[in-house]
């Protein structure tokens, strides 16, 4: 009963990601790459994504707050971030990256800083939503406990 409820909860969480357009179909592509030999592939990829993205966002933030922004450097970092975001299906994050880059290219620095703040929010929102999702999945799999008889009680 509890297992069924948990499954429904996980399914509902997952569906909400698509309904809210936080994730797109590329996430489903990732899920299809999981198999018995690699059951945690999606979580591993996302862990790596957030590890890299956290560092990158800090670096970009430091760069755009300076008086002499290296625009080419920032653009390349955002280009790379867009690539990995697209690869995991992070739809809103990807769109915000595009918006930030566009504003930087137009020379609209204040607009780009605002867009970057939105990007950070979307990124943090994505992580905040995915972490409990994977925790619930882990609960569903759970440690396998087998009932064992106490010692000295081997009788029918």
């Amino acid at each position: 009963m509890e297992s069924s409820h948990l499954r429904q909860q996980i399914a509902a969480m997952r569906q909400s990601f698509f309904d809210e357009e936080i994730l797109d179909g590329q996430f489903c592509q990732l899920e299809r790459l999981e198999n018995r030999g690699n059951p945690n592939f999606v979580e591993e990829v996302l862990t790596m994504y957030f590890r890299d993205s956290t560092t990158l966002l800090q670096t970009v933030e430091q760069e755009i707050e300076t008086d002499t922004i290296d625009l080419a450097k920032v653009d390349m970092m955002l280009h790379k971030f867009k690539g990995s975001s697209a690869s995991i299906g992070a739809n809103k994050v990807r769109n915000n990256i595009t918006k930030t880059r566009q504003l930087l290219e137009e020379g609209n620095l204040e607009g780009a800083k605002l867009a970057f703040r939105e990007l950070r929010m979307e990124h943090d929102n994505l992580r905040a939503k995915l972490e409990p999702y994977f925790q619930q999945q882990l609960r569903q799999v759970g440690p396998v406990e087998t009932a064992t008889r106490p010692k000295g009680s081997d009788h029918a």
Binding site: Q26, Q29, L30, R32, L33, N35, N38, F41, E44, V45, M48, Y49, D52, M76, H79, K80, K82, G83, S84, A86, S87, I88, G89
Partner: protein
């Protein structure tokens, strides 16, 4: 000396591939895509490592080449591999969408180009070109 396959790879039952990408997430995904198709694969992090691995004597049926990488980008790496006589299928994979940029990459010696993100169906279409 191992017999050369159609695109320069070792002639064996199992197809081999080289993933060239500086991004960890992309390397993981491309590796898994290839693994799931039963393709033995190795990953390197930039164009120079791709050239170096070939200089060491290794060859692959397929090379998935990212465009923007530090040290040596995909355009230069592709050019050098072709100059070395490497005839493997080289498929460029990038998020670049401007025609001018893609054309420069293709003219460096690509056999195919696919826009990221790479999916199973895109990878299968690349592989069909090897076997076709």
């Amino acid at each position: 000396m191992a017999a050369q396959g159609r695109h320069g790879g070792k002639k064996s039952n199992k197809m081999t591939a080289l993933v060239v990408d500086d991004n960890t997430v992309n390397r993981m995904i491309h590796h898994r895509l290839l693994d799931n198709l039963g393709i033995e694969n190795v990953a390197v992090v930039n164009g120079k490592e791709a050239v170096d691995i070939h200089c060491s004597g290794k060859t692959f049926d397929l090379i998935l080449m990212d465009m923007d990488m530090p040290v040596m980008n995909g355009i230069e790496a592709t050019r050098q591999l072709r100059e070395m006589g490497i005839r493997s299928m080289i498929a460029g994979v990038s998020t670049r969408s401007m025609e001018r940029e893609i054309r420069e990459f293709i003219e460096a010696g690509l056999d195919d180009y696919q826009e990221k993100p790479l999916t199973m169906s895109k990878l299968i279409s690349i592989i069909h070109k090897i076997n076709g």
